[in-house]
């Protein structure tokens, strides 16, 4: 199994001279199994560049897993060229939105309304299949399995674990570790704490033992207090998570859109200085557009 990062930026695409090294496209990760099955995690703007490489393989079947439907994770979808071409099969997986009461098909076909995009869904020539997932539902793709868990973000958002021939990857999607909304002096503090521990523990168990953890790392410790509750995590939190889960490699992704390449590397090194690597600790890396990782 191998993976390739096509988009590592959070929130909004940020092309320009200060993001040339790590890239300005929003979230999109390509995974190839040993059987060359194509799994794509999220459809941010990086999906367009990925689509351009797929022509030699057409017709193809593509298994797309959407963590959640905020713009930066779906904006590339209308520009996924294989969906216009007959013979291709696009299987799109994601969560139900209980607030808008829309399943993944309704949400994504909304993107193809005429006021947003000139091609309507009915005009797409590929075969589109939508699969609305329940939590912890497992999807089998050949000998590979993809299972999800609900993470913490201001919309229902899934993290995905991909397993194939004994190798495994977990992608958090957008996620903020749970925090207690009560003060220690409040009566409710302890009860809430118990629920939090339970939820954090279930996420940890779900991730445990994966080879590669790809984690939303939008913020530094300094950024976080102002952005608490926005649904994103920090370098330090993810280092702690990766160590506790016993992963081999941790990729920091969803880079904050105002952070330049230099500032990103500075934030990364400062985090490593605060959390020096001990023997047995995971390897820490910054996700970079175009980077390929073999498992």
């Amino acid at each position: 199994m191998k993976l390739k990062f096509w988009g590592v930026r959070g929130s909004i695409a940020t092309p320009g001279p200060t993001t040339v090294k790590y890239g300005g496209n929003t979230t999109c990760i390509e995974i190839r199994t040993d059987e060359n099955d194509l799994i794509i995690l999220d459809a941010g703007t990086g999906l367009f560049q990925l689509a351009l490489t797929l022509f030699p393989e057409l017709p193809l079947t593509c298994h797309l897993f959407i963590t959640h439907t905020h713009w930066d994770h779906i904006q590339g979808l209308p520009f996924f060229i294989p969906s216009f071409i007959p013979g291709n099969i696009l299987k799109i997986h994601g969560a139900y939105d209980p607030i808008a009461r829309r399943d993944i098909r309704e949400i994504l076909s909304g993107q193809l309304q005429y006021c947003y995009f000139p091609v309507r869904e009915a005009e797409l020539r590929s075969k589109l299949e939508y699969i609305t997932l329940k939590e912890r539902q497992t999807i089998e793709i050949g000998s590979t399995t993809v299972t999800n868990i609900l993470m913490n973000h201001p919309v229902l958002s899934f993290g995905y674990r991909i397993e194939s021939h004994g190798k495994s990857i977990f992608f958090t999607g957008d996620h903020e570790p749970l925090f207690n909304i009560y003060e220690p002096a409040d009566d409710e503090y302890e009860e809430y704490n118990q629920f939090m521990i339970q939820k954090n523990q279930s996420i940890l168990e779900f991730i445990r033992g994966v080879e590669i953890l790809i984690a939303d790392t939008s913020y530094t410790l300094e950024d976080y207090p102002l952005k608490k509750g926005w649904g994103h995590s920090t370098f330090d939190n993810n280092i702690a998570l990766a160590k506790a889960a016993g992963v081999k490699k941790l990729f920091f992704t969803h880079h904050e859109p105002t952070r330049s390449d230099d500032a990103l590397e500075r934030a990364f090194h400062e985090a490593l200085e605060r959390n020096p690597r001990q023997p047995g600790d995971p390897e820490y890396l910054l996700a970079m557009e175009g980077l390929v990782v073999e498992l």
């Binding site: 209980p98 009461r101 973000h153």
Partner: protein
Amino acid sequence: MYTKKELVQLVDNMPAFPPSVSRILTLTADITCAPKDLIRIIELDPVLTLKLLQLVNSPYFGLSRQISSIKQAVVFVGINTIKNLALTIAPLEILNHDSKDTPHMENMLYHAIAVGVISRHLARRCSLSEIESTDFFVAGLLHDFGKMALYRFLPKKYNKTLHLAAKKQIPLHRAERKTLGVNHLQVGALLAKKWHLPMEFIACMGNHHDWKFSRTSLLQDCIYTANLIAQTIGVGDSGDPILTPSLPKPIERRLNAKLPELIGTLGDLAGEMHKAKVFIYHWHSDLK
């Protein structure tokens, strides 16, 4: 026939507007509201708590774990989701009913939802924010609550009233005056005052049939218009056999369109209504 005193007594015996609903609406108008304040309000209302838990545990969410408290729900699906669910459920909570003696209630409820959905559409069309548009939805949902309250608490008499209006082809509020001595506008306004609703809501519930020049509020104009549109296109049934054919000129000027043109802008009303209906049925069937 009811005297004014008896009417006040009747209204006094009707269910209180859950205070949680207006408090949630006020609290969440501030985007930075404290999550724990929201939880506290919800937990103080056992009915709302039950509804939220039923919904969070429904197949919509597809959670792998049973959720048994609001705090736990917040941990598992997030405060934002709970906040938005509460905002959706709260106004519907008021319209909950028992349908045995009130066969037309479902249609009235559907009409009320249609007026809510259409007036929210009109608000958005006037470039109001989402928060402001929510008020239009709630006001539309509540505009006929006086009627539904009369129907719910005096089902036999009210069935006769519906029959009389249809037979004589007179406006429903006039038939009410004949059979009950009061009309749903008066009852609606009294209930709205009892529930301490905003003045604007009281005005909408107390007067949405006779348009007067003295009005200046966009909300009241939109409720009046939405009511007319819902009747014209026949979504739900308010029970009123009389249909006003067009909008008063000042409303046309304010909304910058005539009635047929406004109807043309509704877009996927059927879809919106279907969602509201599915949601309500899901919600009622959970209670069985």
